[in-house]
Amino acid sequence: MSDYHLDHLQYLETEAIHVMREVAGEFERPALLFSGGKDSICLLRLAEKAFRPSDLPLPLLNVDTGHHFPELNTFRDARAKELGAKLIIRRVEDAIAAGFATPAPGEVSRNRLQIPTLLAAIEEFRFDCCIGGARRDEEKARAKERFFSFRDSFGQWDPKNQRPEIWNLYNGRLNPGENMRVFPLSNWTEQDVWEYIRREQLAVPSIYFSHRRTCVRRGGQWLPVNDIVPPKPNEDVRELVVRVRTIGDIISTGLVESPADSVDDIIVEIAAARVTERGSRADDKSSEAAMEDRKKAGYF
């Protein structure tokens, strides 16, 4: 190997920085979706690498379902402040109150209601592009996603009619009302994300590390005990040492029993893992095409 060689993280990094700068170059009003989760933490570091010493040329946007882990929101706000970035939060609660998101009878999950909330935020700020932290290794429908994912004026993804993406040439041209979702981490795996967090010494929310928590057994997984869907008398409730592997809403995020309390431990744990990251997300399990259906409706 010559000296002019990039290791896998450097390769993924230069690719992602290129994609971010294409966004800055081709769009007028881009935003970066930042939840405080591990993938969007990497996105923010890549944005710093792409745009410093200037200020980040795009605001951060988060759709707050009202069912977030409190640790996640605390981390999100602190990180945005630390970077001097503008953080825009739009709440599902408010969208329901304003009437553009309507829960189905008995619907507790906020997962579906994120979609109209996000689309309304895009319209409110006239964002023409949203950068997201989705990775192709997460899920089968994601595996077919482009770096630049074109959405029509209803925010819909049409898997049969995607723009071909060739070499490193991205077509960012839009007509009014159309929108682009851009995924700089497309080629990253869960392992790459944690290795990058280690290399860059990035802080992550405490719930990724092993901690003691009261959990309830539901649908074959341990969920955190919470006020939104409190345990019923016949449910199995236990105090366990757990961590989250992927963060969704507090009512649907499975916790894994784990002693991993450092980034090094997590990397070792993932290397030996026998289930995928999204194996702990009830929202993806609801049907085999769950993600495909949500993406077609405008999910990122």
Partner: protein, 441 residues
Amino acid sequence: MTKTVSTPRPTEILRFNTCGSVDDGKSTLIGRLLYDSKSLMEDQLEALERSADITGGGQVNLANLTDGLRAEREQGITIDVAYRYFATPRRKFIIADTPGHIQYTRNMVTGASAANLSIVLVDARLGVIEQSRRHTYLASLLRIPHLVVAVNKMDLVGWSEARFNEIRAEFEKFLPRLDIKDVKFIPISALNGDNVVDASVHTPWYPGPTLLHHLETVHIGSDWNLNGLRLPVQWVNRPNNPTDPRLHDFRGFSGQIAGGIVRPGQKVMVLPGGQVTTVKEIWTYDGPVAEAFCPQSITLLLDDDIDVSRGNMIIGQNHLPGSSSELIANVCWMHQRPLVAGKKYWLKHTTHTVQVAVTALNHRLDISTFETLPAPAELALNDIGEIRLRTASPIFFDGYETNRLTGSFILIEQGTHATVAAGMLLPPREVVRPDATDFVI
């Protein structure tokens, strides 16, 4: 750029794509690679077994691992390029799985443009068919450095060495007419796993590596061009009202190096203006660096205050690029609306987008015979041909054969903004003349 950390993980990425016709068993092959290299997780296997119980009469179908969308499972085809990731202790792999039906050229060009290696799957019973020639030709046109011909379903021809050699001989008849330097033939059964990850007991006559072993060990070296600096400017980095007084005059030119190496103190020229100046600093988030090379993403500071914007190109003084508004290129047509001479498009080349008119269709290529048909009336979806173009202002480029990044472009239809073609430029007839020194500061 980033500090090196010792890691037990593979540090090299091999990107490959798989191509084949509808029933060649591509998805089964990828499923097999993931399954036998233990890259599949329990929940993925569970989902696989669930769908086997429902639709497969109890037989686990490895193709279900990659045929992700419901529409695909219903029709039993792959709609679009799907990307898969796996790693062995030796390497990390990015697979682009490209389907073999009518959208073929469009998808394969998308999946293969960045590949180091291409796997062409051949059904041992059918031998070389039109699709096989088409795939091989595309791999050659895209300048994919390594090719593997995986002769699949060998179990269905009784593991016949003679049949394998026959197919190999058929390929070797037309390979010399193409630009592929490294070709490997491997007899496999993707369904049963022979010679995919583990060596087969059925092929004592085959002395070569298994497919995975070949993927792990094939020498990929550097695919990037390190001769002749090319920095297409993506974004001008100019802090607004910085609090740090040292940043008041900061004016950086950010981009991904598309060729060559750059060092502080080096003389560079900015195109299209032609101004010559010196590199003051290579700025990165992790601090200034002593040199940077293709394909790193960097920010350059220059000695002189020159007007540079997105779409300009910073070049070195050796290996000068071509400069012209009259271009000749091979294109793969990717849209239902055919290309006809005279139409105007947007051409995106590096970070530069410019209006272009297609002035002539020189020829269309018949991929089954490798013969050219002169002056076609149009190029339709999945056609490949040579065209002439005239851009509204000159672009600075290299032949695709010397630099994939500065030798390629896409065409975008005006109005719909659909990406309609992938283009590969022929070598320039004249290069930038450094004697245009009127602009030197």
